[in-house]
Symmetry: C2
Subunit: 139 residues, 2 copies
């Protein structure tokens, strides 16, 4: 791990006033260590941390992902009823979901033009707009 990787992860945690514990640093590094955006599931992130040689319990992965979420560092994306996905990019943007293997990736937001949004009922405001483009293999 390069020094920049560690520093980026530390600052990311510091930004949200989260104590830089070994486990959080490990997960933060896996999430944003290289400055790229990522979409992970709890199981997937846990597997990655084990593969990286860091010992983090599955429960801690869940608790930590939730903590990151509440701190606004990541966002949950609902695309599959059976799994939760977390996105390191926190602004509203469209996603591609590969039905074949359950992979989630960012779609090019610039290509997505929502000219008009349905008017929210009175008394309500838009919290978030989720756009998921589900993809299947072309035959």
């Amino acid at each position: 791990m390069t020094p920049e990787t560690l520093e980026r992860s530390s600052k990311w945690l510091a930004r949200a006033n989260l104590r830089p514990t070994r486990q959080r640093l490990s997960l933060a590094t896996l999430l944003v260590g290289d400055g790229q955006h990522r979409h992970v599931t709890a199981e997937g992130l846990h597997a990655a941390s084990v593969a990286a040689g860091d010992k983090v319990s599955l429960a801690t992965v869940y608790n930590t992902l939730r903590a990151f979420c509440e701190a606004g560092l990541i966002k949950e994306v609902t695309v599959d009823g059976t799994r939760s996905y977390f996105d390191t990019r926190t602004d509203d943007h469209p996603h591609f979901y590969y039905e074949e293997d359950g992979t989630l990736v960012d779609a090019n937001a610039a290509q997505m033009k929502i000219a008009a949004l349905p008017t929210p009922p009175t008394g309500y405001e838009v919290a978030k707009v989720d756009v998921v483009v589900r993809l299947r293999k072309r035959d």
Copy 2:
């Protein structure tokens, strides 16, 4: 129940070559008996069937909703990781999701203009585009 209600439900099942059992007719009637579109959860539909005096087991509600889905009579909508929603309207259209109570309703599709969609990667085609506008109470 009016005769039209029963006939509509029967034809709806017949359209998909599904045997008109008592349970299926009951659920079909609750879903499309009045010709309106509906968004239900398995638990909600089960409660409705019990309230209507029809005895249908929860397992059968699940199996039946799945069967209706596979037959193309309804579509599953993923908006909440903890529950599955089913929509009697089967074309792509935007939804309003009330975070406060988990209600799902159709948004006015005419007001929703997607001028451009992100280009799918080569080898893949768009299976479905889910648009969920999450609403929160305005303070």
